[in-house]
Assembly symmetry: C2
Homo-oligomer: 184 residues x 2
């Protein structure tokens, strides 16, 4: 049960942005700018951005965010949807590009302790083709999910258990992006 009276039955972050729309507006605009728009010089696809979000949420053990962003990434990857679980299970061996693997390493460092992002780690990503925008967006996706995860878990929001609920969320996120829900 949530730690505070949210006055709605929505799951996860949605219950919080309905409860507090003023901070919710910034939180959703940030997600849209990072997971859809991206930096002008970034080469990351939306499916890859969602995968980084799911990867960080998995590292933080936040089930709601991992499951919903995994579902969005699967939806956006289409016939390559299997990649998502392969990356969550074994990022070192999953069949992804060396560039994306290097960016996932940066995301892992940011999530654990951002001071461990070294010149060496960013040089490896750059050598594999990552742009400044890719590095920027990866760092800020990892940092922002270190926030979203804590917000959702710190207030003990509702976490659905039915996989079908997440598949529906993933399709909505993959088609509509991040738009504020209307209070129910």
């Amino acid at each position: 049960m949530p730690h505070i009276q949210l006055n709605n039955e929505a799951p996860g972050i949605r219950s919080l942005v309905i409860y507090r729309p003023d901070t919710g507006k910034s939180l959703y605009e940030l997600a849209q700018a990072l997971l859809r728009a991206g930096s002008p010089d970034s080469t990351l696809a939306d499916a890859e951005r969602e995968l980084i979000a799911a990867y960080v949420s998995n590292q933080n053990n936040t089930d709601f965010c991992r499951n919903s962003h995994s579902a969005a990434s699967r939806y956006l990857f289409g016939d390559r949807a299997d990649l998502v679980d392969q990356v969550l299970q074994s990022p070192e061996t999953a069949p992804i590009s060396p560039k994306l693997r290097a960016l996932l390493t940066i995301a892992r460092c940011v999530t654990a302790d951002a001071r461990t992002v070294t010149d060496e780690v960013t040089a490896i990503a750059r050598a594999e083709g990552a742009t400044d925008g890719d590095i920027h967006d990866t760092v800020l996706i990892a940092a922002s999910f270190s926030m979203y995860n804590r917000y959702v878990d710190g207030l003990a929001t509702l976490t659905p258990e039915d996989p079908a609920a997440y598949a529906a969320m993933g399709e909505r996120m993959g088609t509509l992006g991040y738009v504020l829900p209307t209070p129910n």
Copy 2:
């Protein structure tokens, strides 16, 4: 030296919001909503909100954010400015209200692992007079500084060493709040 070419000489988060104004806008609006406006039923003063931000940044070892938000908190506390260093050095014994101490405990849990925010921890805060809005804002301040700290450290932004630089920032934050800097 920053890990990416930011094309400006501003310190910390300011260099990042100048580099990428679209995410910067959401990040500053979130800070303004959380550190100034607050939830309608919240009892927290702006000086206390800044203190929670400084406390979390201290826990995450992010010097830029700790120093700047400590300075803002000192400015806003006025003749009680000494409280800030007392809390950073010893939150258990600093002369603050039991309510604020209980909220700092919640902030510490969120920062370390938000799944450790238990019903017991929130019940203690509530018994000391914390409202739902206080608990919400504390959780989201701690969560959002877990992001700001990682963003600033993960890209290795400029961290001034001169205390006078932070005193000037603190006064600006305490008077103007969070407004996007214009590119220099």
